[in-house]
């Protein structure tokens, strides 16, 4: 009980600081520009930490850390893409142009940037609706990640439902009051806490297992313990890649590595960060902070997730590999590993790190859902931007609506869902927005028709793929079974290849072909979009 009391005091102190930073954001928010893009004057370290802390959530640490316990260290290819694409390419290639074009066009949100670039209100409404409808899937995955850890740490002290409610109310409070300034100030604090927690976790794990080389060799020696079912799917051990072309290989590379690795470029809550700084200097400095931060987050989570197999197998209480020890639910592996293997004081630090990781991502998701409803749908589409004085008020209502949908989904989604739900949302965003976003920044010849055709192809193609082809989702959703009396219309390997491998190239092709044969935007408009580039 003393331990729980000490942990409670720690968390209350942390929440008070978060509350103060949220209040600071509220005091410094004077207008829509402040509320939606933090006044375009954010400090580079705050921007980079906020980007990183928003990018990395409990989904990455608990969900994908658990996935690493299943797939093994091959998941580090995702960390490589997280850094190379999610930081280097996102900041240097996309970020600088996004910032400039955002300034040129006075864009406050990701949908608004695309809409103003292609002079189409349809794009803003369409993108706003896609974000508002589908982001709750990802947001609820983050929520479940937080709840799983709270559940295992506070077991018998705090009701799961109460924890979920308190967590949601606190975040909704400071996001609604402080806008993006409140979100980014708290993100920076939360990012720093996460960094410390993960460094400790790596040091503890490697020390416990006798050093880097010994730990890796011990994990390699565990290969004969791979469960039969996984061997059948192509698993060759936790320090080996899955068998080339096997179901597990396609699942690892097409859904998880490509889906999340590429999908990060079109995350609306991340790309808006580039519009919050006043020059490219902040973006250059952000690359340094972001690269180290992401390595310390996903790199450590994936290595520790894979190595947890040694701990569970050698521990007399478990005596089996992580997946089996967690009863088949990979979302429980990291919480179980931390609570069972680490000293109590570290569980406190890590509890705080995870709470920070979840809150920093949830807050941005709620803010993005709210701005999609308030700015993109209400102000620009329904009221057509005329004499609309209530953007902040409607955005706050949008945040509340997004929170409610997310919490309901959090109760409804099944186990082992965190990594999958995240990958689906990232993949959906890539298929729907990436060709248009890329064309907006790099191709003056891309037309409004090309952009709209590509976005519709991406969304409808992804929906078709998940409803009728990709077996994991088509079986769960049941529409294919209902219409055609079989779980999927395709056969292996198509049933395990993710939508991003097929739909994204088609979406790009549609954007190019449609743009070549349809009316160009006016020269004046294009010059305005690309001025000062």
């Amino acid at each position: 009980m003393d331990n729980i009391f000490a942990l409670s005091i720690t968390i209350i102190a942390y929440l008070l600081i978060v509350g103060f930073l949220g209040y600071l954001g509220y005091k410094k928010t004077k207008n829509t520009l402040d509320y939606l893009v933090a006044g375009r004057a954010t400090h580079p370290v705050v921007m980079a930490l906020s980007y990183g802390a928003t990018f990395i959530s409990t989904s990455a640490i608990v969900g994908f850390g658990g996935a690493a316990a299943l797939f093994g260290m091959g998941l580090l290819w995702l960390t490589f893409l997280n850094i190379a694409v999610g930081i280097a390419i996102a900041f240097i290639v996309f970020g600088k142009r996004t910032r400039k074009m955002g300034h040129n066009l006075d864009a406050h949100t990701f949908p608004e940037l695309l809409s103003k670039r292609f002079d189409s209100t349809f794009i803003q409404g369409f993108a706003g609706i896609v974000i508002f409808l589908f982001m709750p899937i990802y947001a609820s995955a983050v929520l479940i990640g937080a709840a799983r850890f709270i559940e295992t740490t506070f077991v018998s002290h705090l009701d799961y439902n109460v924890a979920l409610l308190i967590y949601t109310l606190i975040i909704a409070g400071y996001v609604m009051a402080g806008g993006l300034k409140g979100v980014m100030y708290t993100d920076a604090l939360q990012g720093a806490i996460m960094f410390v927690g993960m460094i400790f976790l790596l040091a503890f794990t490697y020390t416990k297992l006798g050093g880097v080389v010994n730990a890796h060799q011990a994990l390699g020696a565990l290969a004969p313990q791979v469960p039969e079912k996984l061997i059948g799917q192509g698993h060759l051990g936790w320090t080996h890649m899955p068998k080339l072309g096997s179901a597990l290989w396609w699942n690892l590379f097409s859904t998880i590595v490509l889906g999340v690795g590429v999908g990060v470029l079109t995350q609306p809550q991340l790309s808006v960060r580039f519009m919050t700084v006043k020059s490219n200097k902040e973006i250059n400095r952000g690359v340094l902070v972001g690269g180290i931060f992401i390595l310390a987050m996903t790199g450590i989570a994936f290595v520790v997730g894979a190595l947890s197999n040694i701990y569970f197998f050698n521990h007399p209480e478990f005596g089996k590999v992580a997946l089996t020890a967690a009863g088949g639910n990979i979302d429980k592996i990291i919480p179980m590993y931390i609570n069972s293997s680490m000293p109590v004081w570290f569980v406190y630090i890590f509890m705080l790190s995870l709470l920070a990781a979840a809150m920093s991502t949830s807050s941005s998701q709620f803010h993005t859902m709210g701005s999609a409803l308030g700015r993109d749908i209400f102000e620009k589409i329904i009221f057509k931007g005329k004499n609309f004085k209530h953007t902040i008020g409607v955005t706050r209502l949008g945040i509340l609506a997004g929170v409610i949908i997310t919490v309901i989904l959090g109760y409804k989604l099944p186990g082992s869902i965190i990594a999958i739900a995240t990958a689906i949302f990232f993949g959906l965003c890539a298929n729907t927005f990436l060709p248009t976003y890329f064309g907006a920044l790099f191709w003056k010849g891309m037309t409004k028709t090309g952009a709209i055709a590509s976005m519709l192809t991406g969304l409808l193609g992804t929906a078709f793929w998940y409803l009728f082809i990709h077996q994991k989702e088509s079986e769960a959703l049941g529409l294919c079974k209902f219409i055609f009396d079989k779980p999927t219309l395709a056969s292996f390997p198509w049933t395990v290849i993710d939508a991003i491998v097929v739909i994204l190239p088609i979406s790009f092709a549609v954007a190019i072909i449609a743009s070549l044969f349809t009316k160009k935007l006016s020269t004046n408009h294009i010059e305005n979009c690309f001025k000062h580039f």
Partner: protein, 47 residues
């Protein structure tokens, strides 16, 4: 060839690439630390 106790080159290359890509970010940030510093006509809409 075994690197850091890992036999599969598909895995140890990922491990090393993660570290090298993070180092690239560090060097890029340092090399461009003061670059990119910076319009009056845009200030108008802010006001």
């Amino acid at each position: 060839m075994t690197v850091l106790g890992i036999e599969d080159p598909g895995v140890w290359s990922a491990y090393l690439l993660c570290i090298f890509s993070a180092l690239f970010c560090v060097f890029y940030g340092i090399a461009n630390w003061n670059k990119g510093e910076e319009h009056p006509e845009d200030k108008k809409w802010v006001e």
